[in-house]
Amino acid sequence: MLQKQVVSHRQVAWLVGSVLLTGSMITFYQSLVQVAKMDAWFSQLLPMIYAIFICYVLMELVHIYPGKNIFEIMFLICGKWFGGFINLILVLYILTILTVDVKGLSFFIQASLLPQTPLEIILLVFVLLLMSYRTLEVAARVNEIYFPTHIIVNFLLFLFLANEFSPERFEPMLSSGVKQILISNYMSMGVYGDIILFGAFLPVFIQPQLFFAAFKHGVIIVGFMSSLILLVLLGVMGYTIASRLNYPVLSLVQQIHVTDFLDRVEIFMLSLWFPAFTIKVIIAYLALLTGIGTFGGERQHKPYNPPVGFLLVVTSLLSFQHVEEMEVFVGYAYSTMVLIIQVPLLLFLFFRSRIQGSKRAHEKTGIPPDNRYSRFYRAMSWTSNLSIVGCLIAVSIGKWFFEMDKSVGQIVVIVIICLLFIAMVASYCQMQVVNHYLHRTRTTIASTGNKH
């Protein structure tokens, strides 16, 4: 069932963007600002590297085990019992992601739009919506409409909030301790770890090199956008207010006062954010169905849809009685849980794929070395990687020198925004060059076949 689905590299990049960006916009930024204060916007750098590492491991798995998803791979590598145990942990982890998202959205909708509607009804309607999506392909196509619009609207935030923005609100920049900046990075890693959900759809990604580039591009888009949203949040509200609000991004959008007639812009923004967020939850739901389906020995997950839907309703109702509980869990406990599950699993899969990969090196697909596509690919890959490392170096140097000159913070802001933008463009070029090469190769093979 999964092999028949066709998802393009651009759709994958945007799906990654939806999965990682939209979830954290409900309450997560509050915890980041509480810890790192005005330096919270440096919190996306290490998680980006971590997410790219996850993508690398996933794509190595695609290369070594073509046509298998992560659950089937675990059964293959670890056997029926131990593999089943690891898969059970993964299924519970995905159920936790879903519970957090569904309950978080219900709290959010109740607080912002439907204060009189019972929480159970909001939750039930949302789960029914999830149950109606059956394939990744449909979600990817819907996402193609909403994700770019959501990104454009996020950029428009700058324009609309220009009159409220004051750089003094995040001064003195880099005054938080190194430990606080590192912990804020650690807290964001949990959200970026959600990218492992795509492990359930590995059979869809038939070209590892192309899809690795697409994943990487998606991750960098998220890093860039999240940093910018945090920067605007801090510039408009300052860290004192932002760290006390339950829904800081909603309050940020409510600050838009451009003209007298442009009122309640947040309703318009919500109508674009909601479908993009729903796509994220659908991806998690499909991953959960795939995981449970693997226990049944088949990829057919249609029969599991009604009971899993009910189970999701009940687990969401049982968890998090108040929004504050959810904030504390997502902000302070979620990353630890994610890293405890993911790091040993990923390291194990990484070394396993390296060992298997050395045996199958001759079967490597993608661009062959020593042609112009390959040289351009490597150049773009290095550019994007060095840009991300450059951001880390810029923060370190800025932290080192900020006590000598307070204006260093402003220079660091400009350098990091430029470097993240360069990384985003370079990763896009990296993705496109593989796509052009594969397209050209396919066209050449087709024309040769026609001649014969």
Binding site: E298, P306, F310, V314, E325, F329, A333
Partner: protein, 77 residues
Amino acid sequence: MNNIFQFVFICLVIIMLLQFLRKRKYMTSRQRGIVVFLYILAILGFVALYFPNLQLMPSHYLKEWISPYVKKWATYR
């Protein structure tokens, strides 16, 4: 959650389970077992909602155990 809602949900899940058991010929026994297990879990979950002080979700215990340490670590200067 309202008690009437809960009762309606439990009845609904039981009806769906019975409906599933009536038409189950196209599945293997393992798949049937998983579906029945999931339905029973859902029914037990709805019953557990009658006891609001009962904390069943692992996320609650993770929050209770981990977050104080991370918070203390993050705020200690």
